[in-house]
């Protein structure tokens, strides 16, 4: 039994993942028609885009299998576990409480080589 949300399915499409990467590399590439005054559903969509970008990086580095890209329950569980591990790492290394890491923060830690 697979459980997927449409908005997440859209954010996980290769087309949008390519656009997200292109947006970072070439500023003139737009994912949405508007580039300010985002609606709430657009904000959720952008958040999911980053979420799936993070998962795709994890899959590409063989940290986890691609099962997380085809089922929301697996995606959430892996991300939840990964966030907890990141928080523990932060507390251990900085010995103070940090605010809950966002998808963006996890992406940064990822690029810095934290496991």
């Amino acid at each position: 039994m697979k459980r997927n949300d449409l908005l997440r399915e859209l954010a996980n499409l290769t087309k949008y993942q390519i656009l997200l990467q292109a947006r970072k590399d070439i500023c003139s590439v737009n994912i949405l028609d508007n580039n300010r005054d985002f609606s709430k559903i657009q904000i959720s969509f952008i958040n999911w885009l980053q979420f799936y970008q993070f998962l795709r990086q994890e899959v590409s580095m063989d940290e986890v299998s691609d099962i997380v890209l085809i089922d929301d329950v697996y995606a959430d569980a892996y991300y939840f576990w990964r966030r907890k591990k990141y928080r523990e790492w932060l507390e251990k290394n900085y010995n103070k409480k940090r605010k809950e890491p966002s998808v963006h923060a996890l992406n940064i830690s990822h690029s810095r080589g934290h496991r």
């Binding site: 908005l7 609606s39 986890v64």
Partner: protein, 212 residues
Amino acid sequence: MENVREKVEKIQEDLKKNIDLSQMEQLIKDNKISFDYKEKSYRVRLLNLKEKQELLRFQTRKENEMREEGIFKYETVLIPELKKAGIDIEGINKKIKNLQREEEKINLQLGEALKEQKPLEIVQPMHDSIIQIQDEKQALVIEKSVRLATSLENQLLDATITYIVYLSLEIKNEKNEYIKVFETYEKMLETIDGELIKKAVSYSTLLQYETE
């Protein structure tokens, strides 16, 4: 605030059940949502600053009116009354919290198993347990929202969403310009076309309310 989230989630879930991926793509493309209804083109859009201020005045006025009328009760009053009638909202909240804790526990186990790339025979049962917990939780959330549907908070939220529709629902005229559908809020309430309002409410909540 929890009730707001639950109510908005319900409206959004109902909408999502009736659309496909390409329609969803249209909904996120812009900060306005256009739709056709009875061969006419409509749209809902984000509120501007002036409209947001008007909405806030409406909410405050409406809440004062409701409090003075005394028909609807705040949840702090309603919940103990329901308990006396044998409906335990606090008990439902407790069950929801316990299920959340259980879900988090299994999520951590499943996340670790996924990291270790354990076989499907190991991860699948955890996956199915999570789905079962989510379904149980959803049933409780629905039960709670049905029981509290007449609370002042919920009635105020209904009125607020309807007022947002009044402020932001527009129709395309013969000059291809979008103009307001209803001149006044009262005129909108008098309309017999509930289906148009229902559609506009669904789309407006996608624009204005965040649930995740």
